[in-house]
């Protein structure tokens, strides 16, 4: 496809801190959302006439509503600790992709319009007017942030650039400047129930096909139930799990786990999506609307538990916000956390000795694990501190013989984003995505060379799709990225017919 040529990063042993190249990626900006997608989400269809007034009004609202945003605007001491922590800065060399550079795009406007020194002595404090040029910069650079929060780990004050990016996107949506990829997708999820726009008959046909495949492969009648009333577990999983590879192998893994554990479960055609892009655009209302579909499906199907499949930001929304967005969930079985991650379910079943594995089934593979940013830095798992790191690794070690972690500075809470998170997994940002993947690719290359790693497992649909592309770009093979639950499914000893 016609993608403009851009300089390909060369992978090094460690990611060097690049020399600055001013405006290196100022040409990058995703396609703008069309009027129909904007309106369906309650936003103006195009840039409104009095956009400055509306934008500043919205910014004022957000500063009141989210005290954190005001603290982030006020408290940066420009110390520089964050500057080399963003994968997009490391990959693009553009100083506006340094977290502080990105924050300052909003901070300048904040100082001008919301602080006294900025009103009276703008030049002294870097205060700027919200001009069309500034808005264009916002659109470009707030869509070069994957909201991964790695910078926040290193910020001595704890400033979360992701929240600033979310606020900026919401302000832009409120004046009619939205991003096509996110807003079209939210519209589809509202209308059809998932980001792909996969209608029920297609979903049913796909699931039926998977039942045939698994039966052919294992001789066991593993079901992929859809809209089954009275099932115990409602599985909410990213629609990519139905559609794409390697995602689907993860879905097969979940189904095998449920089957072997004798659990009754179902998918829902009404809530056939775990992803919640409302978060990426910073819109509480849109996030809530999407989350309420899950509540509705759980009520309609009369389930007792809700379990989430492998989706990074969905788990942030689920773990951190689901109860306040769509609760209370007092109709579910109180003996289980609401909601649960599929890794928690599998881990628990392993601990109880209900699942048994033949690790040699995965002996052809040497595994490393990519911590997905929203799971790593915005959630937890199980009832132990750092469970979001230890549970997936425990599962890998229970199902394989060969596991090596990547460099300490690139995993767990310091994990590098895949390069496609936060609503940037779109072809119009392919240059940014490939450049942003560089730090992760360098860390991977090292374990490939040092330990013979053959496959990287992940628990996020975005990561998996992004790596499918980035792996080919950087000279790895497409199928070296796998779903964590593929390892589970392949090694699981199936005793129940």
């Amino acid at each position: 496809m016609a993608v403009k040529e851009f300089e390909k990063p060369i992978l090094k042993e460690y990611t060097p801190i690049p020399e600055l190249v001013e405006e290196a990626t100022s040409h990058l900006a995703p396609f703008k959302s069309k009027e129909e997608f904007q309106k369906s989400l309650g936003y103006p269809g195009e840039l409104v006439e009095n956009w400055q007034e509306v934008a500043l009004g919205k910014m004022g609202d957000l500063l009141k509503k989210y005290r954190s945003l005001r603290v982030y605007m006020d408290s940066c001491i420009q110390c520089g600790a964050c500057t080399d922590k963003c994968h997009y800065y490391l990959g693009t060399k553009d100083p506006k992709n340094m977290p502080v550079g990105r924050q300052n795009l909003m901070r300048g406007v904040y100082r001008k319009h919301f602080t006294l020194p900025g009103k009276f002595f703008p030049k002294l404090v870097g205060a700027v007017d919200l001009t069309k040029e500034v808005l264009d910069d916002w659109y470009s650079y707030y869509h070069q942030c994957s909201q991964c929060r790695r910078c926040a780990v290193f910020c001595p004050i704890g400033i979360d650039t992701a929240e600033i990016s979310m606020a900026a996107r919401e302000i832009m949506d409120s004046v009619g400047v939205g991003q096509k990829y996110c807003n079209e997708i939210i519209g589809k999820a509202n209308k059809i129930g998932n980001n792909l726009g996969l209608p029920k008959p297609a979903l049913a046909d796909t699931l039926e096909g998977l039942e045939e495949d698994v039966e052919e492969e294992t001789g066991i009648d593993v079901k992929f139930p859809l809209d089954v009333k009275g099932a115990d577990v409602l599985l909410i999983t990213p629609s990519a799990d139905f559609f794409a590879e390697p995602h689907v192998d993860g879905l097969i893994g979940y189904a095998k786990v449920f089957h072997e554990a004798g659990m009754s479960w179902t998918l829902s055609s009404y809530a056939s999506e775990a992803a919640n892009f409302g978060m990426f655009i910073g819109s509480y209302d849109n996030m809530r609307k999407l989350a309420l579909r899950i509540r509705q499906a759980a009520l309609d199907l009369g389930v007792k538990r809700i379990v989430f499949g492998e989706c990074g930001h969905a788990w942030r929304v689920a773990y951190s916000f689901l109860n306040t967005l769509a609760g209370p969930f007092d109709f579910l079985d109180p003996r289980y956390p609401v909601p649960q991650h599929i890794c928690e379910v599998t881990h628990d079943l392993i601990n109880k000795n209900i699942l048994k594995f033949d690790k040699s089934a995965n002996d052809g593979k040497v595994i490393t694990f990519h911590d997905s940013c929203n799971v790593a830095r915005a959630s937890g798992m199980g009832d132990v501190m750092g469970g979001q790191f230890s549970l997936p690794r425990d599962i890998i070690k229970a199902t394989t013989n060969n596991f090596y972690d990547m460099d300490d500075d690139t995993i767990m809470e310091k994990t590098f984003c895949c390069g496609g998170g936060g609503g940037l997994l779109t072809d119009d940002l392919i240059e940014l995505r490939m450049k942003g993947a560089q730090p992760r690719m360098e860390a991977l290359k090292r374990v490939v060379e040092d330990h013979g790693v053959t496959h990287m497992a992940a628990i996020c649909a975005i990561c998996k799709s992004q790596f499918s592309k980035a792996f080919q770009y950087y000279g790895f093979e497409l199928d070296q990225i796998i779903s964590l639950h593929q390892l589970v499914g392949d090694a699981l000893i199936m005793t129940k017919k």
């Binding site: 496809m1 016609a2 792909l196 297609a202 096909g209 590879e245 995602h247």
Partner: protein, 110 residues
Amino acid sequence: MPIEVNGKSFETDEEGYLADLSLWEKDLATAMAKEDDIDLTADHWDIINFLREYYEEYQIAPAVRVLTKAVGKKLGKDKGNSKYLYELFPYGPGKQACKFAGLPKPTGCV
């Protein structure tokens, strides 16, 4: 950017996907492929035709598994996999083949 084929002009979206799929014709697919430096062979057409048939029935492109299975059944198991499809459509069977077939681009985390 509209594409000109046989003296006719076809509207597309920013990414080159046909705006109105009812207007699709074979020469358009050939022209779109040419822009991506691909000469469509019988192998490509097998996939494109399947995509169109599936879309007709389900209003969505088939999942990769559905596609590989159908290809495997028709052309033999050695071809029923993503690698084969990527050889034909290097930018990904889901996206590039859909474009040539006149279908909308699959959206989401894919």
